[in-house]
């Protein structure tokens, strides 16, 4: 039994070595992905079959009548189409998928994946088509360049979005054969929960005091931390930064009473998904108004905080709720 198993294992290994798309490339792999010749596959197109039939008729006909110029003609057509196979495969071979980026989106909207390909061999690669199920996108790479291609995919659910296996294919140059390769990048993108439309106003106590009030330095001073993109420039500790290697900002302890609290447990009347939608909508509203807030979730508490980065974190946590 174990011999049979070992045999099966070795068979799988051999198959994987020869035909990686059948086994290995069903599994995601780390970027960058380079399409080497072993993972580029080629088959005739439907037009290719028709063309083959025509070419066959031409060869047989010219042979039958021993018509030598016709034979030259037929063989030249056949030879060109055979050469074109090399060009079709060559159009994919050596291409590298460098990275994939995407802006987070809310569930239900389309996510725009930006795939950037790199062409290191000095040739142009026209007529490439990237597809993933129903979505399709065309690209062409000029010689020795990077090209970014966007592909839009619908998202249904909040949480991690894994694009899955892309197929990159081409019919270049003549459409007689098509070559394809699978790309299964190991990347996932967050899809925020769909916020509630027309949510109730934010649960705010003393609204007037917030957002507009200027803090003076020294007030409720807590410490220094490294600069983050979302920090307002007036918080930068210029003097201290000059002495340190990095840019530092002054951190203030928000008085707890100041921050509004977006509390999961306060929304008992709603069901699970509706709570998430409400909290998402509130997070967005708070972010839009530049408020400092805390987000209390069943298993953790975030904040208090404010700014784009914090709200992104909150939305992510909301998206990842079970």
């Amino acid at each position: 039994m174990s011999a049979l198993l070992r045999w099966w294992e070795s068979l799988l290994q051999a198959a994987e070595k020869r035909l990686p798309a059948l086994t290995r490339h069903r599994q995601p792999e780390a970027l960058p992905i380079t399409l080497h010749h072993r993972r580029v596959y080629i088959l005739p197109t439907r037009f290719g079959l028709f063309f083959g039939l025509i070419a066959f008729t031409m060869v047989i006909g010219s042979l039958n009548y021993n018509n030598n110029p016709a034979m030259l003609f037929a063989f030249l057509v056949v030879a060109i189409s055979m050469l074109s196979f090399h060009h079709t495969v060559g159009n994919l071979r050596g291409l590298t998928l460098k990275s994939i980026r995407a802006e987070p989106v809310f569930a239900g909207a389309s996510i725009r994946l930006k795939l950037s390909f790199r062409e290191v061999e000095q040739r142009s690669r026209p007529g490439l088509i990237l597809d993933l199920g129903a979505a399709e996108s065309r690209l062409a790479l000029p010689e020795n360049s990077d090209t970014e291609v966007e592909i839009e995919l619908p998202t249904m659910r909040r949480g991690w979005f894994r694009p899955g296996r892309f197929r990159l294919w081409t019919e270049y140059p003549f459409g007689i054969v098509w070559a394809w390769s699978y790309l299964h990048p190991e990347r996932q993108f967050i899809v925020y929960p769909k916020p509630e439309t027309n949510p109730p106003p934010l649960p705010i106590g003393n609204r007037e005091d917030h957002g507009t009030r200027m803090r003076s330095p020294g007030e409720e001073w807590q410490g220094l931390r490294e600069y983050r993109q979302s920090d307002p420039p007036r918080h930068i500790a210029w003097k201290q930064s000059a002495h340190a290697d990095a840019m530092l900002v002054k951190e203030f302890a928000d008085p707890i009473s100041d921050a509004i609290c977006l509390d999961w447990h306060g929304l008992d009347s709603l069901d699970h998904e509706a709570r998430i939608a409400r909290l998402s909508a509130w997070t967005l509203a708070a972010q839009a108004e530049g408020l400092s807030f805390r987000l209390r979730l069943p298993n953790q508490e975030l904040g208090p905080g404010s700014g784009d980065e914090f709200s992104a974190r909150c939305l992510t946590e909301l998206a990842l709720l079970p």
């Binding site: 037009f47 028709f50 063309f51 025509i54 070419a55 008729t57 031409m58 060869v59 047989i60 006909g61 010219s62 042979l63 039958n64 009548y65 021993n66 018509n67 030598n68 110029p69 016709a70 034979m71 030259l72 003609f73 037929a74 063989f75 030249l76 057509v77 056949v78 030879a79 060109i80 055979m82 050469l83 074109s84 090399h86 060009h87 060559g90 290191v120 061999e121 000095q122 040739r123 026209p126 007529g127 088509i129 065309r138 690209l139 062409a140 019919e171 270049y172 140059p173 003549f174 459409g175 007689i176």
Partner: protein
């Protein structure tokens, strides 16, 4: 991938279809050519004006019209002309409805086939070169149809510029492979199915009947009929009578052969062994059965010939593809010295009605000279010589045609002269017959052969004399001796020739005929037999099918690899860059051996600084080398020569 294609691609496709059909215009009836051009114009105009499809009613109407015109102009849509014309028409109809990629591709696939069947009509070198170039255009079309968003807004000119060079390059790269296939692909020694057209008599050339105008129609036709290559010296111009159909029967207007002689085998010929000549006829496909050996043939290497007692040599199968036949002919001979009664009767037969004046004239000669045939012939030649005029544009003959010619118009050419001469001879009781064929031929210095074209067609007479047998008499020579001595109509009437047949252009024509002959030799006549003798020059004996297949596979793979390498050689530049990096690595390693360890993080500038400090005496050389490397590897220096030189220098350091 079945999307509607761009307007520019439809224009591309339409012009390409025009190129494809141009290969057929030389045989396609004018009506169909016109219809096809009309359909192309319709498609062009439609595409310019609107994006909507051509309505079904228009397409159906066109289809019916085209089919009607086809049947009207070429007859049945089966057979060579009919089938080809049908295919061309269907192609035009398909073009009319083509809007999406799938249809366009199918159309191009069919166009490949249409281009190839042009070789059923002509296998000459120029049509072949043309067709091979059309291949590049067709593939260019396919190229343009490949989905490619970058090219959505380019113009037709840009599309041509982008696709044609690429397709042309692929075509060039494919030539070795096509050549290998051509040489090694096993040929069929017998066809799998019949000939592409029924062999029902030729379209051009000498025919089996002589009516007024038959030969003059050929004088405009410069197509080669055969080439003759002589073992010994080329016979002088007045001896170059190429014997074709012989006519015995005359009905008053038309001469025809005699069927009852058809199966009498052999030529009753006695000849002087010293006066024979051996030569090879390289026949062009005439689609007829006649051979045209030099007067009078008696031997040949071909086994499928029938030898008639009146000197005609006929092949059992029509000459539908080029063939070579070797003949031996006697130049001095005694031909059928005993004339059988039936032959005599046939050679004297005349319609009993009509042409009374001619008959009366002949009767007066018979009364004068009695049985002396030669004297009567001389009388007739003198009569013709006296007042007749040789012209290529004779007035039409009315009523009794012989009388009208002899006593009225007196203007004509070989057909008129030979026909009326034989009439007079028969009327005077001398057995006579009309022989048609070719006279003369032009010697091609480059190729060392005699070229005989349809324009050399001629008719002459033979009379039977007691004790001498059949004697050739050319009454045309009595009027236009140049026609015989110079050997061509053109030489006899230089002013009648087109301007392009004279002077240096004429020489050019001879050169191009030599090329055509070589083409025929090397390509058209390459067959299973010559294929099996392919390797003889390399000291190998005949090769069989197995060796042929092996050769095809081995050389084909090689040629395919060669083509792929050549057509994809733009990628080699990268390899070169890699070679440069490799050379630099080795250079670094050598520096390391000499005591300068180089950190992996170190750039070339740092390396240079440290190396120059270590070896100040070589700092200049090092600086030049490393700066050149920086320019090549990181800068804009792309010159391949500079790069190669640098690689050498790095290796030499």
């Amino acid at each position: 991938m079945n999307e509607t294609i761009h307007r520019r691609d439809i224009l591309y496709l339409t012009w390409t279809m025009l190129l494809v059909v141009l290969a057929h215009v030389h045989w396609l009836p004018f009506v169909l050519t016109g219809t096809f051009l009309g359909l192309l114009a319709l498609k062009l105009a439609w595409t310019q004006w609107t994006d909507r499809p051509v309505p079904l009613s228009v397409r159906l109407g066109m289809m019916l019209l085209v089919l009607a015109l086809l049947v009207w102009s070429v007859g049945s849509p089966v057979g060579r002309e009919g089938g080809s014309a049908l295919l061309i028409c269907l192609q035009a109809m398909k073009l009319l409805e083509t809007r999406n990629r799938r249809d366009a591709r199918i159309l191009i696939g069919v166009a490949f086939f249409t281009s190839m069947i042009a070789f059923l009509f002509s296998q000459q070198i120029l049509p072949t070169i043309y067709a091979l170039m059309v291949i590049a255009v067709l593939f260019g079309c396919l190229y343009a149809l490949t989905p490619n968003y970058l090219t959505q807004h380019e113009s037709l000119a840009d599309a041509l510029k982008r696709t044609l060079p690429n397709a042309g390059k692929l075509a060039l790269a494919a030539i070795p492979l096509a050549g290998v296939c051509f040489l090694f692909f096993p040929r069929l020694s017998a066809p799998l199915w019949g000939t592409p057209w029924d062999a029902r008599g030729g379209k051009t050339g000498i025919s089996d009947r002589m009516r007024p105008g038959m030969i003059s129609a050929l004088w405009n036709d410069d197509t080669p009929v055969f080439r003759a290559r002589f073992d010994g010296p080329v016979p002088p111009a007045p001896m170059r009578y190429w014997r074709g159909p012989v006519f015995w029967m005359f009905d008053g207007t038309t001469w025809a052969g005699a069927s009852r002689f058809a199966y009498e085998r052999g030529v009753k010929l006695s000849f002087n062994d010293q006066q024979t000549i051996r030569y090879e006829l390289q026949m062009e496909p005439t689609e007829q059965t006649w051979m045209f050996p030099l007067d009078i043939p008696f031997d040949s290497d071909a086994t499928d010939l029938r030898w008639f007692s009146d000197g005609q040599v006929v092949s059992r199968r029509p000459v539908i593809e080029p063939r070579r036949v070797q003949f031996t002919s006697a130049l001095q001979y005694e031909f059928e010295s005993e004339l059988s009664a039936s032959h005599r009767q046939s050679a004297l037969g005349l319609p009993w009605r009509g042409n009374p004046k001619s008959k009366a004239l002949a009767a007066s000669w018979r009364d004068k000279h009695g049985q002396d045939g030669m004297a009567i012939a001389n009388e007739a030649l003198a009569f013709i010589n006296a007042s007749f005029e040789y012209t290529l544009e004779p007035p039409p003959l009315r009523g009794d045609s012989i009388d009208d010619f002899l006593f009225n118009t007196q203007k004509g050419f070989c057909e008129h002269f030979s026909s009326s001469f034989v009439f007079l001879m028969r009327a005077a009781g001398v057995p006579a017959r009309v022989v048609t064929g070719y006279l003369g031929g032009v010697y091609n210095e480059t190729g060392g052969y005699l070229l005989v074209r349809n324009s050399d067609a001629h008719a002459w007479a033979e009379i039977w004399l007691a004790g001498r047998g059949w004697v050739r008499i050319d009454p045309t020579g009595a009027v236009a001796p140049d026609r015989i001595n110079r050997g061509s109509v053109g030489a006899a009437f230089p002013e009648s020739q087109s301007w392009f047949k004279r002077g240096w252009l004429g020489n050019l024509a001879m050169q191009s005929d030599w090329i055509a002959a070589r083409w025929r030799d090397l390509v058209i006549e390459f067959n299973a037999d010559r294929q099996s003798r392919l390797l003889e020059p390399f000291g190998l004996e005949k090769i069989g099918r197995r060796e042929m297949a092996l050769g095809l596979i081995a050389l084909g793979t090689l040629a395919l690899a060669l083509g792929a390498w050549w057509s994809m050689r733009q990628y080699r530049r990268r390899a070169e860059r890699d070679r440069l990096a490799l050379a630099y690595q080795r250079f670094q390693a050598r520096l390391g051996k000499r005591g300068l360890t180089i950190e992996s993080s170190e750039g070339p500038t740092q390396t240079l600084a440290r190396a120059a400090a270590k070896w100040p005496e070589r700092s200049e050389e090092l600086s030049a080398l490393i700066h050149s490397y920086i320019a090549c590897q990181y800068g804009h220096q792309q010159d391949a020569d500079v790069r190669r030189r640098l690689i050498r220098q790095l290796k030499a350091f």
